[in-house]
Amino acid sequence: MNHAIEVCGLHKSFGNQSILNGVDLVVPAGTVYALLGPNGAGKTTLIRILSTLTAPDAGTVRVAGYDVVAQKRDVKRSISLTGQFTAVDEVLTGEENLVMMGRLSGLSSKAARLRATELLERFDLTDAARKRVKTYSGGMRRRLDLAISLIVSHPVIFLDEPTTGLDTRSRRVLWDGITELARQGHTIFLTTQYLEEADQLADTVAVLKDGQIVATGTAEQLKAQVRSDRVELRDAEDRLVSRVPTDGTIRDLLGILNHLHSQVPADTRVSIQRPTMDDVFITLTAGEKEVSA
């Protein structure tokens, strides 16, 4: 299988502050890759290096088969980036933004106008097309931003925290857009702080911590890696009383309950919890220590 993104031994520091300490990753073509990490983990730096905006200090980085240092222009032709902060021209209208970017992407002015109309409709912006972006809400800007990155078809799409700060409706529109792009065979590399987002969208989830990838796998694999199912006991006021790992078998559950029932009131409620992406995130980014009751 072709790799849309290959990163090997990537290092980057600013001054004496080391941001990326040997990142290795591969993203197969046509898949969605979500990079999770706390603030300051180096997500944005990594995406900026992948999209040629920042030069790596060491390591090889290839995007769409091209080297991001030696073949910048070829990389740029193959990618689109939607940055963490919306990259739209506030002074222009939504339509003018799209037409301008279309022209810069090499469309004729007629094709650019057609494409703009199409995208405005698709991203629910037709009514605001002739208004200046300055007057747009955060969600509208974000949708325009994504529309701009889809003006021409790029094999590799980078999205840096695409839904940060969006309301539920705008987030839905974006998620649907991303799913659709993936279905059409685009490779999508996104960073996010929302675990649900990674869970929903990504084929592969990776966790970046202190400039290194500390875990990679499908959402399910990561959950399994973090910890097993667990039995939770809550009292009548729904406060957590006890949490015990379990392998889910009757024998194990009977053992746990037999042990606990003498220690807690009879109205204590019992539930079996599967690990969530939050658990994965917190475990992997907090270090090795994990409290299990």
């Binding site: 900026r48 040629t52 740029k76 940055g83 810069l104 090499g106 078809s153 659709e180 059409q184």
Partner: protein, 262 residues
């Protein structure tokens, strides 16, 4: 839902620059402050120097003939200073990042602002000359002299705008850009724009006579009023070209530095 069916070549540098010039002009037109500045300032300065200061500076009443070139360049300075702010806004905004991830000459975004400044300032220049004619400016020179003066004015606008663009690039923020730009706006007062440099104290004369604005003003004044120009034209053109090339290189270097380091 249709996907982009267009598989296209990146835009040519001609298209890129053209699109960015259009953007710059749109930005100018929608910036109400800048437009008011570009139109009202020339009118006010012209009236101020003719009716308020003019009588004292030249009791014969011909001060308007003397001051027109100075006001043109002063207005060009003010008009161009907006470029520093625009460039600083752009560079601190995400939109420049998008341009930089596209396979285009992204420096064109600066060229676009410079071109818009040129257009804005030529309008301001026309207003200065229009008002000057109304208040008694009577140049009696041929078309060639007018064209020559226009050429020097264009060169000067380009030089000072590229300088302001570079200031906008290194300033870090829009307000810092307009602060640093103020120094450039002060230069016309230390030239022969409003009074002959020989009326200044000795220590200032050297600077005032040889700084780039003085030969530009003397050339335009000479062309429009038929006075001898001497070597001023060469100095004016030389200075402007030097500044254009220097500021352009400065812009290029800092554009790539600035945007590479976030």
């Amino acid at each position: 839902m249709r996907e982009a069916q267009f598989s296209v070549q990146p835009a040519s540098s001609w298209t890129t620059n053209w699109v960015f010039i259009g953007r710059g002009i749109r930005h100018s037109l929608r910036d109400v402050d800048a437009m008011v500045m570009a139109i009202a300032l020339p009118v006010m300065l012209m009236l101020l120097f003719t009716y308020v200061f003019g009588g004292a500076l030249d009791p014969t009443g011909n001060y308007v003939d003397y001051v027109v070139p100075g006001i043109i360049l002063l207005c060009a300075g003010f008009g161009a200073s907006g470029t520093a702010v625009k460039v600083a806004e752009d560079i601190s905004n995400g939109v420049i990042e998008r341009f930089r991830t596209m396979p285009i000459q992204s420096l064109g975004v600066i060229t676009g602002h410079v071109a818009a400044s040129l257009v804005r300032n030529l309008v301001a220049t026309a207003i200065v000359i229009g008002v000057a004619l109304l208040v008694g400016f009577r140049p009696s020179v041929g078309l060639g002299a007018w064209l020559g003066a226009a050429g020097v004015i264009v060169l000067f606008i380009l030089a000072i705008t590229w300088l302001f663009a570079a200031i906008g690039l290194v300033a870090g923020s829009a307000s810092a850009a307009s602060g640093y730009g103020f120094i450039l706006l002060f230069l016309p007062y230390l030239s022969s724009a409003f009074v002959p440099t020989r009326s200044m104290p000795q220590w200032l004369q050297g600077f005032a006579t040889h700084q780039p604005i003085t030969p530009a003003i003397e050339t335009i004044r000479g062309l429009l009023t038929g006075l001898p120009i001497g070597t001023n034209a060469w100095w004016a053109v030389g200075w402007c070209l030097l500044l254009i090339v220097g500021a352009f290189v400065w812009c290029r270097v800092s554009f790539h530095q600035r945007s590479g380091q976030r």
